[in-house]
């Protein structure tokens, strides 16, 4: 199937790993993506990498989007990528949003994080990226 032939909505898991903060940003993103035609599975706050991988597996999502504020991104994000690989979910696009230093972004991309969106990225940009990079067929 090519991109244009895809007839079902792209499924996106939105999660907030780590122990910090609120999930206002994640909720805004979830609503925005819904309005862009995505099916968004919202799993809320305080997710461990294991919980995120479990949910992604059961929901068979095309994309995992993680909003992360804490400094723990260099442990949490690689762990999610690793768990996905272990479970044969290599084709799932993994993306993160948050304030992450450029040097870390480079490292994260090298280990399987597709993209890191900084503050101020529009939902339209994120939606476009997901449409272009999410796996094609079921």
């Amino acid at each position: 199937m090519t991109e244009n032939e895809r007839t079902t909505p792209i499924r996106v898991l939105i999660a907030k790993p780590g122990l910090d903060g609120h999930d206002r940003g994640a909720k805004v993103l979830a609503r925005g993506l819904r309005d862009e035609g995505f099916e968004v599975i919202y799993t809320g706050l305080r997710q461990t990498p294991e919980m995120i991988a479990d949910a992604a597996e059961q929901e068979d999502v095309d994309v995992i989007g993680m909003s992360i504020l804490s400094g723990a991104h260099m442990t949490l994000l690689p762990r999610v990528a690793e768990l996905c690989r272990e479970r044969g979910m290599d084709d799932v696009l993994i993306a993160a949003g948050g304030i992450i230093p450029d040097a870390d972004v480079t490292k994260l991309k090298a280990i399987g994080i597709g993209e890191v969106f900084g503050p101020g990225t529009s939902i339209g940009q994120i939606a476009r990226y997901f449409r272009e990079h999410a796996r094609r067929s079921a």
Binding site: T7, R34, E39, G44, M51, A55, Q58
Partner: protein, 308 residues
């Protein structure tokens, strides 16, 4: 095209990824789903199919979470399908039921899958029940389907479940009369949830009085009426008991016949519509009906082959 036969074999053997991918294929109406249905139903292990419905925010997901805790304690593996509406404008959806069920994250014997209704006219019930059959074949029992209790398709899903639980809240007040007809039609168990709020017992009593005073001929067993507090689990053991107890009643021959009738009616309607719209003369007959050269009933009969 994904070959679905190995996915079914994998799901039956307990592979969660295979199960998840098969559900995606079914949801998306992939090629091959139709051919899979006979082996899918043959692989059924007889799971109890439980529908949970009720107004938005009444606590359905929280209650499913609490029920899963009780069922896990009783050694059952629980399959959950949580259905949320798709936006009619964008086709997108937000599915948040899972948040309430995080207590079971990491428990491999609880499988939660969110499904968007995808707005297919009447297609929801069909797809959902094929998905439920997959969870059954994968060894989950009970299989629980949560739907928002609004609209015809949800009522239909309830009709296809073996045991339907309708979740209400103490504040239903004047709605009681309005709910009555719908309740009687589908509910096997009625739950007044949020029992920690004032008026829950009163609401349960009113419901009992109302249902016992209904005139006319009732062929169904009157529903059990229970009070729960899903947040702390109060009353949930009793609810699990009531659901489990209803399984036997649901499988009595007359009830099984009724459900089979509903399933067949739905399948026949879907097949009829599909056959009609795929008929080479469909467009021609649409035009003919628009121009009043033929009436819609005669045209439909021709399309499904009842008239030449």
């Amino acid at each position: 095209m994904t070959d679905l036969v190995p996915l079914l074999a994998g799901a039956v053997a307990g592979e969660r990824r295979a199960l998840a991918r098969l559900l995606t294929a079914i949801e998306g109406g992939a090629d091959g789903v139709r051919e899979l249905i006979p082996s899918l139903f043959a692989a059924s292990r007889g799971a109890h199919l439980v529908g949970i419905t009720g107004p938005p925010g009444s606590g359905k997901s929280t209650l499913v979470n609490a029920l899963a805790t009780v069922w896990r304690r009783r050694g059952r593996r629980v399959g959950i399908l949580a259905v949320d509406p798709s936006s009619p404008f964008t086709g997108g959806a937000i599915m948040g039921d899972r948040i309430r069920m995080m207590e079971h994250a990491g428990d491999l014997d609880v499988f939660v899958r969110s499904m968007a209704s995808r707005g297919e006219l009447g297609g929801l019930a069909g797809t959902t029940w094929i998905a439920a059959a997959v969870l059954d074949a994968a060894g989950y029992d009970p299989v629980v389907v949560e739907t928002v209790g609004a609209g015809q398709s949800e009522v239909e899903i309830a009709r296809l479940a073996e045991t339907t639980v309708v979740v209400e809240v103490p504040e239903m007040g004047d709605e009681v009369q309005a709910i009555k007809a719908g309740l009687l039609e589908v509910a096997d168990v009625i739950v007044v949830n949020k029992g920690d709020r004032p008026g829950a017992e009163l609401a349960a009593r009113q419901l009992r009085a109302m249902l016992s005073s209904v005139g006319g001929r009732i062929t169904r067993q009157p529903p059990a009426i229970l009070t729960t507090t899903a947040l702390d689990g109060a009353g949930v053991d009793a609810l699990a008991d009531a659901i489990d107890a209803h399984r036997a009643a649901a499988r009595a021959p007359d009830q099984a016949m009724q459900r089979a009738r509903n399933q067949l009616r739905r399948a026949a309607a879907e097949i009829g519509v599909r056959a009609a719209t795929a008929h080479p003369e469909w467009e021609e007959l649409v035009e003919a009906v628009a121009e009043r050269r033929v009436d819609p009933v005669t045209a439909a009969e021709r399309l499904v082959g009842l008239r030449s």
